[in-house]
């Protein structure tokens, strides 16, 4: 009897909790349930989506996936690619390298995908890069670490392509902007030492500002479980920093910005991609005066339209990662329309992609690095808890 009661309660607990989950504004859109178990009907174009759906970076991975799905739905609604429908096969990496390698192998060998939309997370992409050499399936990813696209000998991995400016370019953009446009001279740096994104943006920024005659007066690393940044920020302030460079993830950024204001720092904070909305509203009035870099600017009518439609459909906010996923799916559609769904042909076409006007900018791939060339980023300032576009910038400028 007790056995049954226990089973019953266990089931009840799970059903109850997932049920109250779905009563929330539809977190799950039905379209995202992958259906790779049934074999693709003749004629469907299968694209793999390899993202972190449940791990620590799930906020990023899910956004890319949703963006790609959104684009795929648009394409299918308009009749597909040359009359064929696009089907996305999404696998969760759990932010775990081992899971990711298994999922990658499965996509390429069992599901026979035409191309893979890879994660915006460095460790997984770097782990996949050497394996991808054995196959002929292009991986379109957003890991800004150079090692995710370029081998040690300086040549690119044949199947790996980066679709946003690399860490070097983004760090340089932020550094140049801070010194040249904002006239800042003394920087303090606070970064998450265990976060590859944060670390990879460190050196390029430092090199850029120093080459422009400005100085880094202090830098403090922190650990993933650190929640109290006041002591660290105090160190930066007392070292004479007039601006603080904080290329960190959203959650930590909220704390850093709030605590920086709490200790009386009223200078500039220069942040990475993760200060994009919803950061300003999450952070509150303290966010005003934060400068950040972004792939898109939300006020552009086409982007605004998608953000609103997506919000209406799912209740979620589309972030910049959404549009990265969206653009890449659109690029794939355009290429497949021209060269068909043979992975090798797609790969060659991506290598020579030039002047694709997407929502995240005008995308050209450099065949020598497999990274974007001259892709502009948009610098924003947060005013009254809303982003205000300051200037479009590319690293080559």
């Amino acid at each position: 009897m007790k056995k049954f009661l226990a089973i019953f309660l266990a089931v009840l607990m799970i059903v109850g909790m997932t049920a109250c989950g779905s009563s929330q504004p539809e977190a799950e859109s039905p379209s995202e349930t992958p259906q790779q178990e049934e074999t693709a009907p003749e004629g469907d174009i299968v694209i793999g989506v390899l993202q972190d759906i449940t791990g620590v970076t799930s906020t990023l991975g899910k956004m890319v996936q949703e963006g790609a799905q959104w684009a795929a739905d648009e394409i299918n609604a308009a009749g597909g690619i040359n009359g064929r429908k696009v089907k996305l096969v999404t696998y969760d990496t759990k932010a775990d390298v081992q899971e990711a390698i298994n999922a990658y192998n499965r996509m390429t060998t069992t599901d026979k995908v035409s191309a893979i939309i890879g994660p915006p997370v460095a460790n997984i992409t770097i782990a996949i890069a050497p394996i991808s050499e054995q196959y002929n399936v292009p991986v379109l990813h957003f890991a800004i670490d150079d090692r995710a696209t370029i081998k040690d000998d300086g040549t690119p991995y044949k199947n790996m392509f980066l679709f946003q400016p690399s860490a070097k370019q983004q760090g340089a953009i932020m550094g140049k902007f801070a010194v040249e446009e904002q006239g800042l001279k003394k920087f303090g740096i606070i970064y998450n030492q265990s976060n590859a994104y944060s670390v990879s943006l460190l050196e390029p920024f430092k090199n850029t500002v120093e080459s422009l005659g400005a100085k880094v007066v202090a830098e403090v690393p922190y650990q993933p479980n650190d929640k109290d940044f006041k002591t660290m920020l105090n160190k930066l302030v007392s070292a004479g920093a007039e601006a603080i460079y904080a290329p960190n993830y959203t959650q930590e950024l909220i704390l850093i910005v709030q605590q920086a204001r709490a200790i009386g720092f009223d200078g500039r904070l220069i942040c990475g991609l993760d200060a994009c909305p919803p950061f300003p509203t999450l952070c509150g009035p303290e966010a005003d005066g934060v400068i950040y870099i972004n792939n898109i600017t939300e006020t552009e009518p086409q982007i605004q339209g998608i953000i609103e439609a997506y919000k209406q459909k799912t209740g979620n906010d589309a972030t910049n990662k959404f549009f990265l996923g969206y653009d890449v799916m659109k690029i794939l559609a355009k290429i497949i329309e021209e060269v068909g769904d043979d992975p090798v042909a797609i790969r060659d076409a991506i290598e020579n992609l030039s002047g694709f006007q997407g929502l995240t900018g005008n995308i050209t791939i450099d065949p020598n690095t497999h990274q974007t060339k001259g892709l502009e980023m948009v610098m924003h300032e947060i005013q009254n808890q809303a982003p205000v576009m300051l200037k479009r910038y590319s690293a080559e400028q």
């Binding site: 007790k2 226990a6 309660l9 266990a10 607990m13 799970i14 909790m17 997932t18 109250c20 989950g21 929330q24 977190a27 799950e28 449940t54 620590v56 799930s58 906020t59 991975g61 899910k62 956004m63 949703e66 030492q193 403090v220 690393p221 922190y222 650990q223 993933p224 479980n225 650190d226 929640k227 109290d228 006041k230 002591t231 660290m232 105090n234 160190k235 959203t250 959650q251 909220i254 704390l255 709030q258 605590q259 204001r261 709490a262 200790i263 009386g264 919803p278 950061f279 999450l282 952070c283 509150g284 303290e286 979620n316 906010d317």
Partner: protein, 290 residues
Amino acid sequence: MSIQIIINGLAVGSVYALIATGFSLIFNILKFSNFSHGALMTLSAFIGYFFAVKTGSSLIPVIIVSMLAGGLVAYIGEFVAFRKITLRSTSPVYYFVSSITLGTLYEGIVTIWVGPNFYNYPRFFQSMVVNIGGFVISKPDLIMFISSCLALALLVIFIQKTRLGRALRSVSFDRDTAGLMGINVFGIIQLAFFISGALAGLSGVFLGINYTLYPQLGNLVVKGFIASVIGGLGSIFGAVVGAILLGLTETLLINFVGSGYAPVFSFLIMLAFLLIRPQGIAGSNVQEKA
């Protein structure tokens, strides 16, 4: 300057104390480390968040709702994951496996539930900081510190002064004998889980307010574990002292050697404690029970 560091350290320490106490309470009764505690904090923090957003209520009702939710989930969790193990009274390792799995379950549910969004509690205070004698204290920190003290004081009074508290202590000391004395052992265990869950709810809300909400928020529970080892496993008083000590040490370390080595030092302190005073600050039982 150095007083400012101590204030920051106390603030951090008081959160660790709340985590460590909820954890110690269960250790006290069932003699196992409840690894689902962290995920439970996250779960109840999210319940509190959605309540706050839906009803737009002020801080106090949110705390109450989170504590009730945490208590209730812990109550059900005990029934689902631990009851049979207690009845069988076999090795404590089963508790360990069960509690980790339960934690995974909670975390999985939260991930499914909240989706890809970021969350932050609505503002409960107009200004975030108060200035007392030239020192900056953040309001959530202050309130957190005060309510931690309050909750812990109430808990101590409850355990030391009431009949139920006495029953709790006797069950913790010897379950079988307590049962023979006519104490409803499972009632007491359920009560302990409820209280521990409520504490998880309280710390969850504060962590959420202070540190924003995300599915892995509960990972902070590691600090609670370390604090309770320093304090002496299963001792509530020790857990509090250990937590404050850990909070202070960490803040000092961050100031003098940087955050990078802080976990290394925490670990070394823990090792040193085990070498010199294995029973912890409070001196609980460290040998395996026969």
